[in-house]
């Protein structure tokens, strides 16, 4: 395939996938919402869950974004060094966002900072935001790319916080920080929430890990047994706060809690918290060297 044709083909695919992610929740999130709906005993909270499912059905039927806030779009790319369109990928993803904005359609959510004008096409300086990871030499698929599309609305972006604790605060301080964020700002972020926690050296590494944490499939666990146990402790504890859907109180607060960590400087405990709303619009797609694709996040996706 010549490069121009290949470029167009991948732009078409990523525009379609970006639009699709705005209209359909991933399978793991749908399953979890159904489980929480079944476990809800407050009639008002149950009625809110019913509105959510009614909304998702209407979005699918009418082919529309299930939430009007289609986010400032982010891509997390993990690509092998021999993926044929690696150098073109940033341009392709930017063009795909422009196309999806018209075709899906998506809300115009890029205000150029300092210029204070909405660009009208969801692109601008560093928009869409793209994070890169190079697949290691030991990984299979050196000629493949796995791309996560994530659209978080303003509501669930607002609670995000990071700070650097002194070592004396310990993991106890990490837990307290998570509770402070969720108890104070959680109600505005459209609970039940997916809470991502990053533990690292400094604010930016902890914050980025907390975002990567909410891109993990729901219910997956940190490989370290203590970290995995802490994920469960935080999940159960936050659920006992009982925010309920939309913060009107109920039996659940979270879809889950995911922790990501790095080795860190001995003098600091950087902690970041990112929050995803119940309409957690995350999509994962694998692109082969021949531009064949497989959607990993949505069981019944057709593009």
């Amino acid at each position: 395939m010549d490069t121009r044709l290949a470029r167009n083909k991948l732009t078409d695919l990523m525009a379609a996938f970006t639009g699709y992610v705005g209209k359909h929740l991933p399978t793991d999130v749908l399953d979890k919402l159904a489980e929480l709906r079944a476990g809800e005993t407050s009639p008002l909270a149950a009625a809110v869950y019913d509105s959510m499912f009614e909304n998702l059905a209407a979005a699918a039927r009418l082919d529309r974004p299930c939430c009007q806030d289609t986010g400032a779009i982010q891509f997390f790319v993990r690509a092998g060094a021999r993926f044929p369109l690696l150098g073109d990928l940033a341009g392709i993803l930017t063009d795909a966002v422009r196309r999806a904005t018209i075709e899906a359609p998506l809300r115009h959510n890029a205000v150029e900072t300092f210029v204070e004008k909405n660009t009208g096409d969801n692109t601008g300086s560093r928009a869409p935001w793209i994070e890169w990871e190079i697949a290691g030499s030991g990984d299979p698929g050196q000629d493949e790319a796995v791309i996560e599309v994530y659209m978080a609305g303003g509501g669930c972006s607002l609670p995000g916080q990071a700070k650097v604790l002194m070592p004396a605060a310990g993991y106890e301080g990490v837990a307290a920080f998570v509770f402070d964020v969720v108890a104070s700002y959680g109600v505005n972020a459209c609970p039940p929430l997916l809470v991502g926690v990053g533990v690292s050296t400094s604010v930016e590494t902890a914050a980025m890990l907390s975002k990567r944490a909410i891109l993990r499939p729901l219910g997956s666990r940190h490989p370290n047994p203590d970290a995995a146990r802490m994920e469960l402790l935080l999940e159960n504890g936050l659920n006992r706060l009982g925010l309920g859907p939309q913060g009107i109180t109920g039996n659940a607060t979270v879809l889950g809690v995911h922790l990501e960590s790095s080795a860190r400087h001995p003098s600091t405990i950087g902690v970041g918290v990112s929050v995803g709303c119940w309409a957690h619009r995350r999509g994962t797609i694998r692109i082969g060297a021949d531009l064949s694709h497989e959607v990993l996040s949505h069981k019944e996706a057709s593009l």
Binding site: S51, N55, H108, A183, V187, G237
Partner: protein, 201 residues
């Protein structure tokens, strides 16, 4: 049976409603969020729509052109707390009777709801297509220079809801009460978890 409010809303239509009640709206609701509020309150610019007896929606929609008209595609509530700095003066100046958004609002808005007989209500967040299907028509748009999310979209709605009353006309505040409850539960939970995560030894 559904309790339905119809615009223009009068004081005695809403005085008996209490936090936690569920209502629906017929009539006119206008989207108005951050910059719409800022223009009226901080910049002193007159709103291009007379809101007396009407409803506002803290929301920034996705709309699509349809010939010379507009069609509502997706319109869910945004975080109402962002408008807390302005809302008491906004209620006093405009005579708006129903504010729809998500999450709660603060003490100043609750006081203004009591003084001027108004409500804040929550439309379930993220349920934007459900809301769009309850918009019958976009009658007009104002301040389009603000872009799609911030412009004022004047919508005619039918049985728009569910709307969960979060501040009633006595000034009672559902989310303030909930928040106090969450804060109260927080400390013992944090202590209990803290005891189990002392991994630094």
């Amino acid at each position: 049976m559904k309790r339905i409010l119809t615009t223009p809303i009068r004081d005695d239509d809403i005085e008996d409603l209490r936090v936690g009640d569920v209502v629906y709206l017929n009539g006119r609701i206008v989207t108005c969020r951050d910059v719409g509020h800022r223009r009226l309150i901080e910049l002193g610019r007159a709103l291009p729509v007379d809101l007396r007896g009407l409803a506002i929606f803290h929301a920034g929609p996705i709309v699509a052109g349809d010939g010379d008209r507009w069609r509502m595609i997706s319109v869910g509530p945004t975080t109402s707390m962002r408008m807390e700095a302005y809302e008491d003066r906004f209620i006093a100046q405009t005579g708006v009777k129903l504010i729809v958004g998500k999450g709660g609002m603060g003490e100043k808005t609750a006081a203004a709801c009591a003084r001027h007989k108004a409500l804040h209500a929550v439309f379930p967040g993220g349920c934007a297509v459900l809301a769009a299907t309850e918009v019958q028509d976009i009658e007009s748009v104002h301040w389009e220079d603000l872009g799609m999310p911030e412009a004022l979209w004047v919508c005619r709605v039918k049985e728009f809801g569910p709307l969960i009353v979060s501040i009633d006309a006595t000034g009672a505040n559902l989310f303030a009460a909930n928040r106090a409850r969450f804060e109260e539960k927080k400390a013992p939970l944090v202590e209990e978890i803290g005891r189990q995560v002392r991994f630094i030894k």
